[in-house]
Amino acid sequence: MSLWVDKHRPRDLMKLDFHKDQAIRLKNLVQQSDFPHLLVYGPSGAGKKTRIMCLLRELYGSGVERLRQETMTFTTPSNKKIEIMTVSSNYHIEVNPTDVGIHDRVVIMDLVKNVAQTHQIDSSGQREFKVVILNEVDDLTKDAQHALRRTMEKYVATCRLILIANSISRVIPAIRSRCLTIRIPAPTETEIASVLHLVCKKESINIPSDLAMRIARSADRNLRRALLMCEACKVQQYPLTADQKVPEPDWQIFIRDTASTILSEQSPKKLGEVRQKLYELIIHGVPPDMIFAGLLKELVKNCDMAMKCQVASHAARFEHRMRLGNKPIFHLEAFVAKFMAVYKKFMEESLGDAF
């Protein structure tokens, strides 16, 4: 199945649709023989990976697009075998160290060492270094980040790291300073709409500009989601009309559902139901911070201004706790319990005023 997102992904730095200035700079960076480690960050769906793939193509030619999948095994100091999937070409290797949870440090150290110790076979006409792409660097444990710092310095001669993160606030300063940080901002809604128009034109279908705007708005400035939405719209109903339904992601609907459960009744029993729903979300892989954001957004719709402040500050507190703690569910539940208490008090007071 070839999705529009993949089919129409720009493969050359010069063909990118937005942030064109940055694209030129990136091209210049690569055209000089060498470049430093990169830390590419930005929100989801802004085009981080697209730009990196373009960059690699610029570096090594079309060979980087011949990908193969491999499972690598590592042994932890406690003799536990861990497996991790890697996607690699002849010139680069990409890995998601957070897949192995708390053992990410071992993966980073061994993987980078493995890659760095083997030189490029044919260095004439090619670059002298390989590239290691690490995903979700901001979710790495502190241990792994410190290991990364050391590794980065040691193997700088034979490999370059490209780190991908959503936000650099959780990347330790030592790594930040060793990398050239490149921020990829999310595209604006008009930019998304124009990309949608472009893609539709290539697919030779007609999209009403109202619909394009609506998709752009409901996609949260996430281009990938916007393109997927657009294709889903086309599958659901063609020809496209300006007022047709834009399908939302399942998890957003589920979060909204959870929020309405919270608002319907404030009791420990309801909290138990909410907890089951939160469990379900977490187990299916929705990141807890997105659940937090989604819940807050839905809940504050039913609050007055004073309460909004209060709820938002509680949410911020528990979200921070969640980052520092181990179990997201504890903090999500604490937030829901706090909201229930505040909301119940508010409802009782307003009822009291009415009489």
């Binding site: 989801s44 892989g285 181990n326 903090h331």
Partner: protein, 498 residues
């Protein structure tokens, strides 16, 4: 080891003072009256051994004076004893290598049951004890060749099963293994090989005795004796429970009888109160109960100290918990609280009114003391189970906040105190937040396994080497690829039909 064992077969060591007793029992007398006679005979022997009937604590085997000698002395439930006895009878004289596995908590009388029953049925028992194997370099600095532990083990058990000792002429034998060689815990497959060999070559039954522990990792019974292994070798499994209160009382009464008959010089005769204390504090462990009783009854210079502790504890606990009138005597062993029990104490806080005002029956400090070694798992249990006990959303808010704080503190593993503080925050937070608890029966559930399952690219019908994984697939692709995928496949079907 085998060489040591050979020596053992040839001569009796002096410290093995059980030997005369055993010989006595081994006389083939079966009727009850005879046994009673025997008991008298034994006590006579004991008396002659100890001169004036006093226990010499310096004697290595002083504990043995209180060991049960006949089946009726056992504090274990009759049904269990019968079960073991039936097994023994069933495999007696068959010349077959039947295998029995006995599991149960520590001090539930597994070993003593089998040895007493073996004595009753005139069966010679040989036990494997894992030898020390420290590598000592020879004069030239190289290491001696040593046999593998498992080979030694196999050789020993087969020899013990097939060959009779020269000292006694009975031909019914039983091998006991309580002390498993380490190598089996590391590589369970070796154990399977050993069992296979044993089954094939040996001519006597073998008994494996495993103590159960709370943690799964150290549970030999679970790790070694997998269900498939049990099936393969037709292993009979008898599970022992911890000793009941009546059983404990019975055993202690017997001990106190022995004391009052023979050892008045060393011990004070224990009072009924004292026995109650010991029973309550031992949590079904008969061995530690006897030890505690021994400690509590000792005469001597520190006698006053002991009794004063007992009295103090008693008065304290009486004010604390009048209804159950249970008294905790913290002698040697702390009162054990398992995790479910602890969870119950936290979730149903009981408030007692004393002179100082309101007080919790179980103070948070006492509760956390029991779980300091595994703070996060205890907090997980609390989190999973606290909700049904709350009636008001204000209270849940406080409890949930406390749990959130606790998780934050427990995450700081570098600071040792944080673990304790985190646990305390959770326990005290929940106990104090619940002002109006619901008292209903709520089964305690284990914490959920929160392993995230990301969809695989194949599930979403994407290319295997796909650029994105994990979160991105869930957040963006899942919904839409379902819509796009199913519709396009429908379209394909239609086009095929056309």
């Amino acid at each position: 080891m085998s060489s040591i064992q050979k020596v053992r077969k040839w001569c009796n060591f002096e410290f093995d003072e059980n030997e005369p007793q055993k010989k006595n029992i081994k006389n083939p007398k079966q009727s009850e009256n005879m046994l009673l006679e025997e008991k008298v005979a034994i006590s006579k022997i004991e008396k002659s051994d100890y001169g004036h009937g006093t226990v010499n604590i310096n004697d290595k085997n002083w504990m043995k004076t209180f060991d049960p000698v006949i089946v009726e002395d056992l504090a274990i439930h009759n049904k269990k004893i019968q079960e073991v006895e039936e097994w023994l009878k069933s495999c007696a004289g068959k010349n077959q290598s039947d295998i029995l596995l006995m599991t149960g908590p520590v001090g539930s009388g597994k070993t003593i049951t089998i040895s007493i029953l073996a004595a009753k049925h005139n069966i010679k028992v040989t036990e494997w004890i894992t030898p020390l194997d420290i590598d000592m370099p020879s004069d030239y600095g190289d290491y001696e060749f040593k046999e593998k532990q498992s080979t030694k083990f196999l050789e020993f058990i087969i020899k013990a099963a097939n060959f009779t000792s020269l000292l006694d002429n009975n031909d019914r034998k039983l091998v006991i293994v309580e002390d498993f060689p380490n190598t089996f815990i590391r590589t369970p497959s070796e154990f399977t090989d050993v069992l296979q060999q044993y089954k094939y070559r040996a001519k006597s039954p073998i008994v494996f005795i495993c103590s159960e522990t709370h943690s799964d990792t150290k549970n030999t019974a679970l790790n070694l004796f997998t269900p498939s292994l049990k099936e393969q070798f037709h292993i009979h499994h008898i599970m022992f429970n911890s000793i009941s209160t009546t059983g404990l009382k019975f055993a202690l009464k017997r001990v106190s009888e022995i004391i009052s008959k023979k050892h008045k010089a060393v011990y004070n005769v224990p009072t009924a109160d004292m026995i109650d204390c010991v029973v309550n504090s031992s949590a079904g462990d008969v061995r530690s109960a006897v030890l505690n009783l021994h400690f509590a009854c000792l005469k001597g210079s520190n006698m006053d100290l002991e009794t004063s502790i007992v009295i103090e504890k008693e008065t304290k606990s009486k004010t604390k918990k009048k209804k159950n009138s249970s008294k905790f005597l913290s002698l040697g062993k702390d009162q054990t609280v398992n995790i479910l029990h602890g969870v119950g104490r936290v979730l149903n806080p009981k408030v007692a009114f004393t002179e100082k005002g309101k007080q919790l029956t179980h103070s948070p400090k006492d509760v956390i003391e029991q779980f300091l070694s595994q703070p996060s798992s205890f907090v997980n249990f609390l989190e999973e189970n606290y909700l049904p006990h709350f009636s008001c959303s204000d209270h849940t808010d406080k409890a949930a906040s406390a749990l959130s704080d606790a998780d934050f503190m427990l995450a700081e593993w570098r600071e040792k105190m944080c673990q304790e503080y985190g646990l305390y925050t959770a326990v005290a937070g929940i106990m104090l937040a619940n002002k109006a608890p619901i008292s209903a029966w709520n089964p305690v559930r284990g914490p959920k396994n929160m392993k995230v399952q990301y969809p695989s690219p194949q599930e979403l019908r994407l290319d295997v080497n796909y650029l994105y994984k994990g979160k991105v697939l869930v957040m963006d692709y899942q919904t839409y690829s379902k819509i796009i995928g199913c519709n396009s496949s429908e379209l394909n079907n239609i086009s095929i039909h056309l």
